[in-house]
Amino acid sequence: MTQSKQQGRSDELLRLGDEIVARALEGGASVAEASVREGEHLSVKVRLGKPELVEEAGSRAVGLRVMVGQQVAVSYTSDLTEAGRARLVEDALELAQLSEPDPFAGGPEPALLSREADWPVLDTYDPEMGTLTADRALELAIRAEKAALDYDPRIINSEGASISRAVGGSALVTSGGFRGYSDGTYVSLVVNPLTEDADGKKRRGYHWAARRFLSELDDEVEVGREAARRTLRKLGAKKIESAEMPVIFDPDAGRAILGLVASCVNGGSIWRKSSYLVDRLGTAVASPLVTIVDDPLINRAPGSRRFDGEGLASRRNVVVAAGQLETYLLDSYAGRKLGMSSTASASRGSSGGVGIGTTNFVLQPGQETHDELLARTPRGLYVTEMMGFGFNAVTGDFSRGASGFLIEDGALGHAVSEVTISLNLDQLLQRIDGVANDLDLRTSVASPSFRVSAMTIAGR
């Protein structure tokens, strides 16, 4: 998209936001906040060398949060006809009458709202993204899948290769005086080959790449080959005996653990008392090797943003510093509930409501290489994938299905599947005794490989 077209879109979305806010104020709202989103996306999927899906669409919708005094309600619509917009405002105002005054409700202090001059340039928008047409995406996907299929005759089938690209912009206008626009692009490629054990048991593997800039996306042939390698190494996976042993999480599995930490430092979970990290600020919650930062200011990173969902200037939050819990992630509501200040972690959902979210929530890489971490593990479990939802945030109890490899004499041995790994998350973080330097910011929650000194493995 050209510069002027981008400008045109931002003006249009902001004007629609202005209109909705004005209507809500006219209708009696004391606070009105409209977020207007527009997006275009393209997804293609190929399987066994042939196109399976080409999906293209554009969409636009408005979310509205209103307050009448301290009564709050939200509404959303993708029906942007005159009747639809009127309905949106009327619904929110009517529902606000129904909700009950919450003494902590309210927008952020107007003085805290950011202005255009405060916004950093984060380079989240690739003007070249639109050059990835459906035909070109199909070609790339076919090449990626072919690279996997040709890699080894034991790759016998495929669940396909997919490419998606998204271009999106959103405007936020609030009656408190905030008016801002941000946009971004994202492209991803995933390849899913299949192989089969001697006894016919199928094994699925995958590899993927994702970036904000098209020119930075990993080479499709290399992604396909890596997918094949990852699939083949699952051959012959078996259960192991139940035991306690060290566990190394690879970056994909580690990311899932980081996601659990994110849910437990969310200010909403704290005031609801639904996190085991209640009352733990300033105490050791992880090993000294662990530093976790939520950083929206990384150039071209997937979770970067200029301002938060309430219009506060984005800031870098060190959540865990060398094992010590430094802060929760807060929006202005959770801040008031807990007697703290917002950390500019508000996230405005597409439906108009405000919650708390992470930006780039990252376990900071350590000094060791991935191979060094492995080499100093005589015997252990190397986890590449986890399954299921076995986590209780209130207690921290964690138990999930896992697959990966047995580590023998400091190297990856046979593949392992159908086991579970268990340990309370509090202890898990305390027992981290190695963090590698293999961080890749493909996703907004990201982790390098790390090792936990001991977990319970349930198998045979």
């Binding site: 399987r47 042939k50 196109p51 399976e52 899906l53 080409v54 999906e55 293209e56 669409a57 969409s59 919708a61 709050v72 309600a73 939200v74 509404s75 959303y76 619509t77 993708s78 029906d79 006809t81 639809g84 309905r87 529902l95 129904l98 909700s99 009950e100 005054p101 919450d102 669940e159 048991k201 199928k202 699925r204 139940s242 306690e244 609801r272 008392k273 639904s274 085991y276 439906s351 108009g352 399954m387 299921g388 939802f389 076995g390 986590f391 209780n392 209130v394 207690t395 109890d397 138990s399 999930r400 299905g401 697959s403 599947s417 159908e418 086991v419 579970t420 268990s422 319970t456 493995i457």
Partner: protein
């Protein structure tokens, strides 16, 4: 549909779509060729009410509207959607989807026919018509009841979600079908605390019904159940690690079935031979005790539909009969490949997604054993009562599901509560290890949502008490 929220494409709406217009639009979709095309108009109104700390803190209303157009040529699908119902926008979507078949020959005009659909979700009090204050009062009752039940309850939240989904499906196979699909879900969750130790409990339910659901499943009953669970779990001990006999309670345990066999029997995975059940029709895939059906016709069930999102009406389809695999769940595309009739399992999350074979209400039918006798037969094992969810790798059937309320069974008696734990196994393997089946089949109260390929749809599950001779229990107590 209430007059306040009216689908613009309804006969008396602002942009009505009749058969003639739909035929014309299908003509645009197939102008470049293709074997099949369909139109999916949707207008969905959702409401949510959240009660927290004794206040109705959040209330929301969400309207989504649009058209999805699909054109197929062989195994290739072109898909496009729009959120405007202006003719130019509709034809733009149809032309975009038609690109997949470009260079082909225009297809003969489509002739649509509407037919009467069953009425599987009669509603007495449509939830969108019921006043907000009435809903608030119901949530307040749940909150009060939970607080009054036990002094150790420190947090209570209650929620009500309602949906009315109005759909119009027109396909080149000739279907022209309207449906109006209500959905209600009520839930209570609580946190109990004693001496700094906290535990949570929850209860929820609903289905394709109106507010009358809460007359038979009262807010007080859900509150009591959530409290019971949180209090029971306060004393939870570490769960054993390793292979044990497991007894599943009736109802919600059907989620195991959903993961262990359900997904593997969706026809798309079998067409592509990526499921462990590919080419297994006629084979013994489970213990002879097991008969599994997918029943889209259950009265007011969460997974029930009068018509699927491709215009087909599902019935109760037998998937496994006395352990033998007899059929898959089909959408239009896979049915054509297998040369069978579609089973009405073609479902999609919204107009923004293409349909896939999906479950409706998946049930393991009754056996003959007395449930108490099943528990008595276990020397040492786990009794699984409530689940948080599950997941399966359909290529080989490996699954996990997480237990949120479980107990130890010792010498035939249910004893100590266990901390949240995962069960892990292999679908076909576990289904062969079903050694006893109760006569107490129950359908889960409607809470489950199934995810596949990024699309969520509401589903139902059900089963009687089930004994499985060995499942890996993922606790922390070795040698337990």
């Amino acid at each position: 549909m209430t007059s306040r929220y009216q689908a613009p494409f309804a006969p008396d709406g602002s942009a009505p779509i009749d058969r003639a217009l739909a035929e014309k639009l299908l003509g645009v979709a197939l102008a470049q060729g293709g074997d099949y095309a369909d139109l999916f108009f949707e207008y969905a109104v959702n409401g949510s009410y959240g009660y927290d700390e004794g206040l109705l803190k959040s209330a929301g209303r969400y309207v989504t509207m649009g058209l999805g157009v699909r054109v197929m040529l062989g195994d290739a699908t072109g898909y496009a959607y729009v959120e405007s119902l202006e003719w130019d926008a509709l034809t733009h979507a149809a032309r975009t989807a038609s690109q997949i078949a470009r260079g082909g020959k225009s297809v003969a005009p489509v002739s649509l026919e509407s037919r009467a659909l069953p009425t599987r979700y009669p509603v007495v009090q449509p939830s969108l018509d019921v006043e907000g204050l009435t809903k608030r009062a119901l949530l307040e009752r749940a909150d009060k009841a939970a607080r009054a039940a036990d002094a150790r309850i420190v947090k209570v939240s209650a929620s009500l979600n309602e949906e009315l989904r109005e759909i119009l499906v027109a396909t080149s196979a000739g279907h022209f079908a309207w449906d109006s699909q209500p959905l209600v879900r009520f839930g209570v969750s609580v946190i109990a605390e004693v001496n700094g130790k906290r535990q949570s409990g929850s209860s929820g339910g609903g289905g394709r019904t109106g507010m009358e659901y809460l007359e038979t499943h009262t807010p007080e009953a859900h509150a009591a159940e959530a409290v019971r669970q949180a209090i029971a779990m306060l004393d939870a001990r570490e769960a054993p690690a390793g292979e044990l006999e497991v007894v599943l309670a009736p109802g919600d345990s059907g989620i195991l079935l959903h993961e262990a066999v359900g997904h593997g029997l969706e026809a798309d995975f079998n067409r592509k031979k990526t499921s462990n059940y590919a080419d297994a029709i006629g084979q013994q895939v489970a213990s002879e005790l097991c008969t599994v059906v997918d029943d889209g016709s259950l009265l007011s069930g969460r997974g029930t539909i009068n018509v699927d999102d491709e215009g087909e009406t599902p019935t109760s389809a037998t998937l496994i009969e006395r352990g033998r695999l007899v059929g898959y769940m089909q959408d239009q595309h896979s049915a054509k490949f297998f040369g069978v009739r579609p089973t009405g399992n073609g479902r999609r999350e919204s107009f923004r997604s293409h349909p896939m074979p999906r479950m409706t209400n998946t049930l393991l039918l009754n056996g003959e054993s007395d449930p108490e006798e099943i528990v008595r037969s276990v020397k040492r094992g786990v009794y699984a009562r409530k689940f948080g969810g599950g997941q399966v790798d359909i290529t080989n059937g490996d699954f996990v599901f997480s237990l949120t309320e479980g107990y130890l069974i010792e010498d035939g008696r249910i004893t100590a509560p266990l901390k949240g734990v995962n069960l892990i196994g292999n679908g076909p393997d576990v289904m062969r290890k079903v050694t006893m089946l109760g006569n107490d089949m129950a359908v889960s109260d409607g809470i489950w949502t199934c995810g596949k390929d990024g699309q969520s749809v509401p589903v139902g599950v059900g089963c009687p008490t089930v004994k499985i001779s060995a499942v890996t229990v993922g606790g922390t107590e070795l040698g337990g």
